[in-house]
Symmetry: C2
């Protein structure tokens, strides 16, 4: 369909715009010790779907934000995501060797550089939001609060701690949903809701975007688990099979049950946006990702 092809070109143009802006917002050579700058740029600019920025940009567009208004905030959410990947991969954490098809930062550089690059990227996200003077001050503070909530003791950091501390414990589906919500869902929600907030969407719409994003995040996690259970490292671009000793939705529900749960989340996500006058940009973007063969980046 021509309409579909045009939409795909729009999505790709948005994604490419995120890549360009990320390259500008990353520290330039000479701004800090070379090795640190190189590590940060290696981690941040490695090819990726830019899923979180895309959600922010599309949510902003759905609710009428001017073009470009959400770009820097969208990039900030990608910085946070990249930071979390670096830190989760560390030897003291998951000790991963491969990420996005490339050696992890602590392997390509060293552990200290990886820690500093991860912390630096997280920090840079807040710097970028604070410096986005096109947005009113209260909105910048609101975006900071959303990001900080997603990262902190209710979000990524709590989830990573829970995952590490309880790694050998058998989890039921509800415990897995909570863990996956903390480890990936909260940031996806914050990015999507942040985009809607930048557009000045009504509170009910921002809430609906949050429900949408929550279900999308859970669906993607199950998809990752399915790929991990079935796939190869080559296809996934990161270590696979490492979750074999852990409970995942796949090990808890089986392959068919996991697929069913994933489809349920996708249906709930679509339903959430139905009632608040959102268009179908978000739904069609996510639908395209799930129709493809690649894992969520």
């Amino acid at each position: 369909m021509d309409d579909n092809a045009a939409l795909l070109r729009t999505f790709e143009a948005l994604r490419a715009g995120v890549d360009r802006r990320l390259a500008e917002l990353a520290p330039p050579a000479g701004s800090a010790p070379d090795r640190l700058v190189a590590a940060v740029r290696y981690a941040l600019l490695a090819p990726g779907k830019r899923f979180r920025p895309m959600l922010a940009l599309l949510a902003a567009a759905e609710f009428g934000a001017p073009e470009g208004a959400a770009l820097d905030a969208a990039c900030a959410f990608e910085m946070i995501h990249a930071a979390s990947l670096i830190l989760d991969d560390l030897p003291a954490m998951d000790d991963a060797g491969l990420r996005r098809g490339l050696p992890t930062i602590h392997r390509a550089f060293d552990e200290a550089t990886a820690i500093l690059a991860g912390v630096g990227l997280l920090n840079q996200a807040y710097a970028v939001i604070a410096a986005d003077h096109a947005l009113p001050g209260p909105l910048r503070a609101d975006l900071t609060a959303r990001a900080a909530h997603a990262v902190g003791f209710s979000g990524l950091i709590a989830g990573q701690a829970r995952d590490l501390f309880d790694r050998d414990r058998t989890r039921d589906a509800a415990a897995l949903d909570r863990l996956n919500h903390e480890k990936t869902g909260v940031l996806i929600i914050a990015a999507a809701q942040g985009g809607a907030a930048i557009a000045g969407a009504p509170v009910a719409a921002v809430e609906a975007v949050g429900v949408f994003a929550r279900h999308i995040g859970l669906a993607f996690q199950i998809r990752d688990d399915l790929i991990d259970a079935q796939g190869s490292a080559e296809g996934a671009g990161k270590d696979v099979g490492k979750d074999a000793a852990m409970t995942t939705v796949v090990s808890a529900l089986g392959l068919a049950g996991a697929r069913q749960a994933m489809d349920g989340h996708l249906a709930s996500a679509a339903a959430a946006l139905g009632g608040v006058g959102a268009g179908d940009l978000l739904g069609r973007y996510v639908g395209g990702l799930f129709a493809g063969r690649k894992a969520a980046a």
Copy 2:
């Protein structure tokens, strides 16, 4: 002098107020995995001078901020400081065993918990500033920008990277000043200037507070180096003698030269505040610290 005794009581009351507020702003038990919460509280609530919060509170007071207006922002700067200590002490960094008289977080807990606690505390600082609704949104964004600048690729992170990567290189006094500025000065400056900004101080006054804080930071670093060269771990509350293989201001200038440089910075700090109508709270507070026998916390 009675006046002096009253001032000391005021300083101690402010410091105790910071301690109380930090205990409230730290994640409470049950809000995240227990081990993580315990590590964060252990690191943040260990006894300390609260030097950065005190500078923020006194700068705010000097320029007429209402009582308490700068308290949460002051605590945010202490959170960033505590985070930087945790991360600098990690095995991959300085591999320190003792901090503030207690085992470092990675020794008392484990390395993964220490990394998550450090990153969590940095993130919590931004959460606290963003949630400080008593301050106007643009001011919250301004404080975030100041903090992020101090942490990032021009500040703590760049300094730690430079320190690690070039540890064996001989440094001259100018290179040491730059390193010490990045590793400690920028955060001290941000805290002091943040307090002045909360008070709505004129730009020239905020600038002068920055010059004051820069010199105070360098003076404290030399003082730390002097203690390290002469002291014992018991007195300093942290590992000492670890800098023996590194260039410090003491090894570059000798004991007498280092003391002279320290006095020069203190004089420059005092001069900076002279011309902008600031009272002497900041000067008397810092003077009291230098008159005492303990290292800067």
